[in-house]
Structures are given as C-alpha cells and as structure tokens.
Point group: C2
Chain length 331, copies 2
Amino acid sequence: MKLGTLKDGTRDGKLVVVSRDLTKAVAAQDIAPTLQRALDDWKSAEPALRALAERLEKGSAPTAFAFDPTKMMAPLPRAYQWIDGSVFKNHGELMKKAFDTENKVSFPEDRPMMYQGASDEFIGPTDDFVTVEEAWGIDFEAEVGVITGEVAMQTPPDKAGAAIRLVMLMNDWSLRNLIMEELSRMFGFMQSKPASACSPLAVTPDELGPAWKDWMVHLPLRVQFNGSPFGRANAGVGAAFNFSHLISHATRTRNLVAGSIIGSGTVSNADRETGSSCIAERRAMERIEHGAPRTPFMKFGDRVRIEALDAAGRSVFGAIDQKCSALARRV
Amino acid sequence: MKLGTLKDGTRDGKLVVVSRDLTKAVAAQDIAPTLQRALDDWKSAEPALRALAERLEKGSAPTAFAFDPTKMMAPLPRAYQWIDGSVFKNHGELMKKAFDTENKVSFPEDRPMMYQGASDEFIGPTDDFVTVEEAWGIDFEAEVGVITGEVAMQTPPDKAGAAIRLVMLMNDWSLRNLIMEELSRMFGFMQSKPASACSPLAVTPDELGPAWKDWMVHLPLRVQFNGSPFGRANAGVGAAFNFSHLISHATRTRNLVAGSIIGSGTVSNADRETGSSCIAERRAMERIEHGAPRTPFMKFGDRVRIEALDAAGRSVFGAIDQKCSALARRV
C-alpha cells in the first residue's frame, strides 16, 4: 500500500492512497483525515486503507483522481520525532576524511551513530529547498526513512523492526560549512541540518516485496544532480546496522510516539562505481584522488532528484525532485 | 491568561483555561480542542480564550470545575519542535568543571549555545519520570521554556521575541553518565536527554507582570529535592542571551512552526547562596570545594519540585512535582 499527503492549504494536508503504478490517487478522509491520525489509530486504519487501496487498483474507487507528485506534501509535513542514523560505514569513513575529523569522530562497532533531528518541518518532494547563503555549503543526502508506530522504551533489536509502518526516501539537506563549527561545540547538529525533504509516497514494507529484507531496502537510490547521474548506491549494501537496530537504540532511554521517523543516514557503498548520495562524499573522494575537492557544493538553481526503482523498473516511492533556491528577503 | 492541558485519555489532551489563583478551570473545546490547535490559529483563538478566562475570573463560566494539577498533562504533551539553549553562564562554567571539558566545550560570546531536543513526549507535571538505571546518573534541570507561534527563517534578535505566545517551567531530565560518551562522539544529545517535563500551566507573558522583562522571567525558580530546599536561582539573572536571541538563533537556517518550544537551559546564578537547579551543579561546587562530589544523583523514589512564585507569593505556573521511578520490565 502506498500512502501520501495531498496539499490542501492546511499544515498537515490530506491523506491519500496512491495506486501501485503511481497514476491514480484517492482521498482517505473517511478513514483518517491525515497520515498522523492514521498512525495514531493504525490497528483500525490500516485494514480500511488497504481495502481502499484494493478498490483503487481495481478501478472501483469512484472518487479517484490523477496522481500528481507536484501536489504532494511530505507524508508527514510536520512530525513529532525525527532521529537520523549513520549506518553506512563507507559514508562515515569518507566524511572523516572530508572533514579532517579522523581522530575526533569515532563510529563505535557495538551501537549505531544517531542524532536528534528537527521534526517540525518536512519539505514536499518537489518543493524548493530554500536557504540563505551558498557559502554555507549546500548539500543533499539521499537516504531511506521509516515511520514507526509507538515503540516502548528498551525494545530489543530483534523486536523493534516490527514497529515499522511505512518506508520512504528522504533528502537530508545539510549545510556542510556550518557542520564542523557546530559539532566542535559538542551540542550536535542544529543550524547545519535544516528541514529534510521526503518522497511523495510512504509505502508499507510489503510493497517492497523481496527488496525489503533484514529491515532494510535492497534497492539502489538513483541520484541525479542537474539531470546527470550522480549516484546509485544500494540502500541494502554496506550498512553496519539495520532499521530494527536503529529503532531499538533510539528506545534505550525513551518511548517513541506513533509517527516517529528514523533515518538510515546517507546511503553509501564501498564500490566507487556506484557514485555518491551527497556532494560531500564525492569531494572526499576527489580529495583522496587529486589532493583537493573539485565538485562545488550546490548553487541556487541547482536540482537534485532521488528515486528508487523496483526490479521491474517502477518507481516505488515516487521521486524527490527539488531545486535549491535563495530565501526571498523581507524588505 | 493561564492555559493547560487536561488528561482525557487522548494523546493531546483537552485545552483548559485556569484561574489566576489556580483554583478553577474551564474546558475551551468550543474555541480549540487542544493547545496545538489554538496555537495553529492563535489570532482568532487568543481573544476567545481571553474572554473565557475573564468569565472564569468573574465566576460566570458555568462549566468551571476545580483545578487539580495531578490531572494535567504537559501543556503540549507532544510537540513538533523543542530546542534547548544554555544561556546561564554560571551553569556552563560549572558543567565544564564537573565534566572535565574545560578545553573541549567552548561557549561562544557572540551566539547562544543550543541543541536540538526531542519533542515527541513531554511528561505531565506530577507524572513520574520513568527510567531504567540509577547508574545512568539521573538528574533534573529546572528551567524556563517558551512556546512560540510561527517564526520565519532569519528573524532578527530584536523581532523574534514577539513570537512568544506562552511561558512555562520545564524539568529537562538528564542522564549525566550517558552525556559525555554521547557528546564525545560529536552527534549531540540523544539517549542522554530523554523526555522533559513541563509545569501544569503555560501562561501568556502579560500574566507575569513586571517579572517579564527583556524577554526573560525575573523570578526565582524554587527547587526542592525530597522536600528540602535545593535552589532558588533567579531566571532573570546571569543570562548571556534572552529568549528573543534564542528564537532568532534557531531561525538562522529554518522556519519554526507554531507550537515550537524553546528552553533557557538550567537556570543558574553566580551567587552561591541561591543553590542549584540541578544536582550536577551542586556536585561541581562540591568538587571545587572538597575535591570530590558528595551529593549522589537521583535514586528511584526521589522527588523533585520546581515552582515559581510571584511577588505576592502566588504560584505562577503551578508546580512540577515528580518522582523518579524504575521502568517496569516486561516479562
């Protein structure tokens, strides 16, 4: 089942079910007005939403309309919880080299690296990323995110994965030139990680078929930068921890509410042929190969597109396709 | 005007208006079912809520009932945004001494220290703080929090304070023995800062009278630990930055949604006579005076009470009064 949130002028948008081929959508307001409400009452909402999805596939949903990704918000336009991990070892190693933090940042073997993100705003899949200064080092990060139900404190790693309700793609916008100054003060990311964007669709794990295995998405994330291929790292390859580990780790000292979003961190494979899921990684590789980075960070007007296709070549989550643009200054 | 959220079995509770003397309450469901909804539509909700508060004061609100703090949730039991600052210089200095981070953590002069907190759960004022291990170094932190309306990216420090809708007290529960391990990995606080608690009432700034000045609460926070006085640091004394600075800083790279909570950090005065707003500070002072800390962190069953009285001795926000208790293990 594929779910999304339609722009309707409200902060939380309107919950819709979308067909497997991404051509049709139908509003689910009789079941739940918003995705958060459906997640709050998943036990009763899920079967009703699945029944609606089935009617949509069969062409027997009379109020169906054409699906248009530009009309979509993030599945949860504002959420209560967002914790991002960093499970791809190759990304961690390259970032250490990129930022000269070899001796400062250590990725432990026995537990995942995670940071508390800001959940108050998730940008729609085709909406601009608006920021202030190109000099801040604007970068994208292609990753996978899961949306959970309620998870109790101290849920073990072999049980936490069962709380995953939906899977989506994310673009974790990063301001590279603000990161080291923030991290060096030891209070974590704040200004350097502004609002992330999400794919138009959040899908139930079964929708992924065999590509959902061991609590991970075993598909390449196709990243295009200004229309050119940039990366196709597989989100199921090279991860030190999976989503069940991440969720369990997040519950060590707290409960998670329904609608919590947990991220994998930038998807990255050791195989250089797969390219990169963020500019900073490519710059790190250039630094290793040529002594200095060659690819600049994003300029206003640059575009990034992130998508995952299944074995049959169909888009699973729809595409994140965003332009980076300058904040219009108030006079 | 004093607002609060009554337990009603739902996740967001029910919005109530409470009388100035904390004896009576009245449900505001005809205006907004929850505090978040009122904040989402503050322009129309505020005058209606003020009119209801006036009727309550005059005794002409027929559905009024007795106010009972034990029936209250946090004003926003789950919120979209929580960013905590650390503006009290004395706290920063003592924490550096307590944790041997003199050379690692630097508090800059030109901008406030802030970290991205988890907003998905705020504990009710008299509900237990539930955690797993005493060995984690359980500690309270008495501070002031403000709840904002929407704030646009890049709002300057002289304008950001105008977005403050409500003021409350907070207990930023901290697991001291998990902090340094987390901070040393440079990804900020995650497991070491579980859910915070809030006072039963969030009040409009005008409710504070002359105690609201320069975007700060000029009242002592009375902290009692197991029934004994522990601290009475004034939340208007010794701060390097005020709430307008904090909000502005938070908007450097992002918008803030309505219902964002911004914290001052542990209130702390240089005057040792005022005691401490957290155990870690007292331990730091003991270390300075005696070479080693003497006061242990909290044990299960310990209680902390945090309250602020106005010049006339009336409780402004009601009291946070919590017991620390052990998580009941599932079998």
